[in-house]
Amino acid sequence: MDGLREQSLAAIAAATDLAALDAVDAALFGKNGSVLQLVKGVSSLPKEQRPAAGKAANELKVALQAALEARRTALREQVLAADLLAPDFDPTEPGPALPRGTLHPITIVQDELVDLFSAMGFSWQDGPEIETEFFNFDALNIPPEHPARDSMDTFWLQGGHLLRTHTSPVQVRTMLRFPPPLKVIVPGRVFRQETVDASHEHTFYQMEGLVVDRGVSVANLIHTMKTCLQQILRRELQVRLRPGFFPFVEPGFELDVNCPFCSGKGCSVCKHSGWIEILPCGMVHPNVLRAGGLDPEEWTGFAFGMGLQRVVMLRYGIHDIRLFMGGDLRFLRQFDTL
């Protein structure tokens, strides 16, 4: 019995893993296990030897079970400890490449602007891309023979309609559709017959805005535009408002921001002026209000037309406007935010 005890304890101690220990366990306590045999063997001993032998056998059994349990626990802890160290598991290895889509950078900035203006109570509206001469020009105080018609090189369709040269037609359409007070933004695609180069496109995007109410003033315009630009260019910025002439606003302005590339000191991007022209705007011309069915004595408004591509190029540091319509995934997939 002592021999068995020694042997078994040694075997238990020698088990290097749980499988080996299970084997020892089976050898001792499994079918035909040596300890079970021993305990069974007590009943075949002479009667006066049985109590002592039985007690000893039982003690052995208990001791070996305890040893097994202890070793088992120790081995489990070893496994856990090894697991924690896990030298051949590299969490810095890249996982599988999962397809991940992206929005076009103009969509991203447009959505932000829509959110921003919606937070100020503006309504997101749309208008047709194919327009009538009336809505694109006449209703906006641009009669035939007006030089402004030349400066917007128009695409004409066979059959007499044109492709809208700006999003401004939607100003009048909206005024005809909804009663004032109005706060509307209209992002959209516009078209001008221009030679395409690094800073010019024939198909581009504008974001038009219109506010019409009683008592809307230049002061309101300045405040709204400055707030919007600060949000969208994500920095404290200086703006300056200088006279600009457009037939559909009076007074009309050009809103400039100080150049982000040189902080206003002067560089090639801002043509050494320190300012970047970004936002034509102005107070809606009374003739346009009238075309929208409103009385300019009662209602005033302001309007602005942001060149979306210009803003997007400033935001992301894109240098060539042709990339936007180029359909090249090496460009598009860089704009990963949703």
Binding site: G101, H104, L338
Partner: protein, 796 residues
């Protein structure tokens, strides 16, 4: 347009004001100044020299050896390469050891063996022009050694104006106009633009007539005699040079000067070339031609306005003079024309002939007719100065008798304050108008403002125009910003726009699509590749290129056009495009063609599993996400979608209403575009989706009794549609079927040829009890019995 600082200073006192300041203040109040450049700077070390002697260089034909008195004591020996150097001239000299404006230091040199001390300069070396044919010869008079800049005042700064910012201001196309603005901005005195000349009451006059005063509201003429055509004096030459004009001779230069000074173009005819019948302004007759100054023969049309004499055209009014009547070097008597033409007339002719001149660009702006008279007096005065002996030979002729009709506009103070959003004291407003030289009278409502003639032709017509004047002179930056206030009400919504926004986001996140933008025009070649050539398209009359005239009817051909290029750089391409298609056969109430708003999707893979099955699942998922869970159970009929595979594309529907499709690209289109034939495509028509009904999920109580999944394998002919069989399995369930999902379509070994095994999991359940094995048996029995009618058998 360029302005010279020195030239401006002739009209208004600019002391203490730097060119940069002027640039800034003009930009903020008047017009955009794009740049300020120095002119004629860096000449402090140049001196006047007299050429005492000139002889040919013994060793070099093209060189001369001169002795020049440059006021330094000893005369300098200077070797000079100019062909025009001669004794007796006054020239510009760089002394040895001194610098040229570009920084080059001139020293002692040896040219072909002869020493040269210093240099005689050409205009180009002085940085005054590109003239380098010969040296600059100065007017005599300055003592040798005098600083060049004291003898010839040239130092200047040039402001470059962005012409687009003064298109609406006809009064700003000359130095006096800008000087007037500066006088208003800085509160300085403005010098009168002209000193009126005493013109003879009698003498040589040219008979003047105008066919239609609408075309030509004012036509003035003056005969000037005693002219001698020669080089203009230096002061005039360099003012012209500073603003980018090339001096020709005193006569031409004087007309240019007056134009750039006052903004009124002038034209001089050699009087010998005019008929004694006089000058008549009329429209061209059909077929009429003329030779213009630039040597071209022009075909004229009845829209062109002509200056004629003796029945023949002598000038294209407002645009360019005729060749025959142009002034020549021996001209001594001219007929000077100073006129105002209808701006549209000039613009049309100028555009038609592709002739844009300094004159025509001014006439197009609607000039103030009062200016024409000022210009006559100015020219008379100037000509006498630059050609001594020149004088008016008769009275000024006037063909139309134009008179300025003064106008007043009322500016209501309340409206001014209201529109600007700031209340200015009325004194401030008055002083702004007075500074601009507008007449001002107070009235109960505000101010009655008299509009001067130079602002009366088109720019100031309504009250709001006056509000702009006040705002710009006060400076818009001085208006404190004020937030908008207003009603809080829900703004009207355009659901299509929000739907598109959400669809793009879901498609980016769940379908892994990258959004592309393409032009609305489609090249003919791409439409042909998509088999969509023969359909009806809107066409652009003035396209960017002759093969890109058609406006796309649907978005997808544009998207397909980007696949091949991208598949070259990555193995899998997932694109989406949100945009409009334009369909001419349907029109809206205004007659405008119908515009569809679509989201197009393309998935293409060079290798690996076919994209369609996964795209199908994802697209159905997208529809569910948008609140429009759809079925995709029947083939799309096609219509004008020529690029879909007719046997492998299903329509997306809610109930009866279709709003899109998902499927495989037509194999011919794939071949034409060079992309894999497994390319999968989809399109959602967003407006149709909205019309088909968008709904929120509706809660269905969780079944109290458990579901029982049953595997059903149907052996079907290859052409059988899973959708039909799924429907069958549901219907045959008598309300006990909660769901039917196809988990495998197996084709291959072990099946009879021409068949496939469609393996479904049918989820059975009842509301009132737990189903038993008997229920399952009963269901399978019904399936077995009725499926034969569909040509399928239940397996197993």
């Amino acid at each position: 347009m360029k302005l010279s600082y020195r030239w401006l200073a002739r009209h208004v006192d600019l002391s203490g004001l730097t060119p940069e300041q002027i640039r800034n203040d003009l930009t903020l109040s008047t017009a955009e100044i794009e740049a300020v450049e120095p002119f004629g700077q860096g000449l402090d070390e140049i001196v006047v020299g007299h050429v005492l002697e000139r002889r040919k260089h013994p060793e070099a034909d093209k060189l001369s050896v001169t002795r020049v008195d440059a006021g330094q004591g000893e005369a300098l020996q200077i070797v000079c390469g100019a062909p025009n150097v001669a004794a007796g001239q006054s020239v510009a000299v760089v002394l040895p050891g001194r610098r040229l404006p570009d920084g080059t230091r001139i020293g002692k040199a040896k040219l072909r063996g002869i020493e040269s001390f210093g240099m005689i300069c050409s205009e180009r070396e002085l940085g005054l022009s590109d003239e380098h044919e010969g040296i600059l010869v100065l007017e005599p008079g300055a003592r040798p050694g005098t600083r060049f800049v004291d003898a010839v005042p040239v130092a200047d700064h040039v402001l470059e104006i962005d012409n687009k910012s003064i298109n609406h201001r006809p009064d700003l196309w000359g130095h006096h106009g800008f000087a007037r603005e500066l006088a208003a901005i800085y509160g300085r005195e403005l010098h009168a633009p002209v000193r009126r000349q005493a013109l003879p009451a009698d003498g040589t006059r040219v008979v003047l007539s105008v066919e239609d005063p609408a075309d030509c509201p004012r036509y003035l003429g003056l005969v000037l005699a005693g002219l001698k055509v020669q080089r203009s004096p230096a002061w005039l030459r360099y003012l012209l040079r500073a603003v980018g004009q090339r001096p020709i001779n005193n006569l031409v230069d004087a007309t240019n000067f007056v134009m750039l000074d006052l903004g009124q173009p002038l034209h001089a005819f050699d009087l010998r070339m005019l008929s004694p019948q006089g000058v008549h302004v009329r429209r061209a007759r059909p077929g009429e031609t003329m030779h213009t100054l630039d040597g071209q023969e022009r075909r004229l049309e009845p829209v062109d306005l002509l200056i004629t004499s003796g029945g023949e055209a002598v000038a294209l009014a407002g645009v360019m003079g005729g060749a025959r009547s142009a002034v020549a070097d021996d001209t001594s008597t001219i007929f000077l024309e100073s006129a105002t033409f209808h701006p549209t007339r000039i613009r049309r002719t100028s555009t038609r002939l592709g002739l844009r001149t300094e004159a025509s660009s001014r006439y197009e702006k609607a000039l103030d007719p009062a200016l024409a008279e000022d210009a006559v007096h100015r020219m008379a005065e100037l000509l006498a100065e630059v050609s001594p002996g020149a004088h008016a030979a008769g009275p000024m002729g006037d063909a139309t008798g134009w008179r300025f009709a003064p106008r007043t506009i009322r500016l209501r103070k309340a409206r001014l304050d209201h529109k600007l959003g700031v209340t200015l004291p009325v004194e401030r407003v008055e002083s702004i108008f007075r500074g601009l030289r507008f007449g001002v009278q107070r009235c109960t409502e505000g101010l009655d403002v008299g509009i001067p003639s130079w602002r009366a032709t088109k720019d100031l017509t309504i009250e709001d125009d006056l509000i702009e004047e006040v705002g710009r002179m006060h400076r818009f930056d001085n208006i404190p910003p004020v937030p908008l206030t207003g009603t809080v009400a829900l703004a009207p919504r355009e659901p299509e726009l929000f739907l598109a926004q959400r669809a793009l986001r879901v498609a980016a996140a769940e379908l892994g699509c990258h959004e592309v933008y393409h032009y609305s025009f489609v090249p003919d070649a791409l439409l042909a590749a998509c088999r969509a050539d023969g359909q009806e398209y809107l066409r652009v009359a003035n396209p960017v290129a002759p093969e890109i005239t058609r406006m796309r009817r649907h978005v997808l051909p544009s998207t397909l056009g980007a696949v091949a290029q991208n598949l070259r750089v990555q193995p899998e391409v997932r694109l989406m495009e949100h945009g409009k298609g334009y369909q001419p056969e349907r029109r809206d109430a205004h007659g405008l063609p119908h515009e569809v708003r679509e989201l197009g999707i393309v998935w293409a893979r060079n290798a690996g599993a076919e994209p369609y099955p996964e795209l199908r699942s994802r697209v159905l998922g997208l529809c569910a996400r948008l609140g429009a869970p759809a079925t995709a159970a029947d083939l799309h009929p096609g219509g004008d979608l020529a690029w879909i595979h007719p046997g492998r594309t299903v329509a997306l529907r809610r109930g009866e209403r279709a709003f899109g499709y998902v499927g495989v690209l037509h194999p011919h289109v794939a071949a034409n575009l060079g992309i894999p034939p497994t390319t999968a495509i989809a399109t959602l028509d967003l407006r149709a989706l909205l019309a088909a009904g968008v709904a929120e999920p509706r809660f269905v109580p969780i079944p109290r009794f458990p579901s029982q999944p049953v595997d059903v394998a149907l052996l079907a002919p290859s052409g059988a549609r899973a959708g039909d069989l799924a429907r069958f399995l549901r219907e045959v369930g008598d309300g006990m079927v909660r769901d039917v999902v196809l988990f495998e379509a197996y084709r291959g070994a072990g099946l009879p040829p021409g068949t496939k095994s469609l393996n479904f999991t049918v989820t059975l359940g009842a509301e009132d009890r737990t189903l038993t094995a008997a229920d399952e048996e009963a269901y399978l029995m019904r399936v077995r019995q009725r499926c034969a009618g569909l040509g399928v058998t239940l397996r197993g």
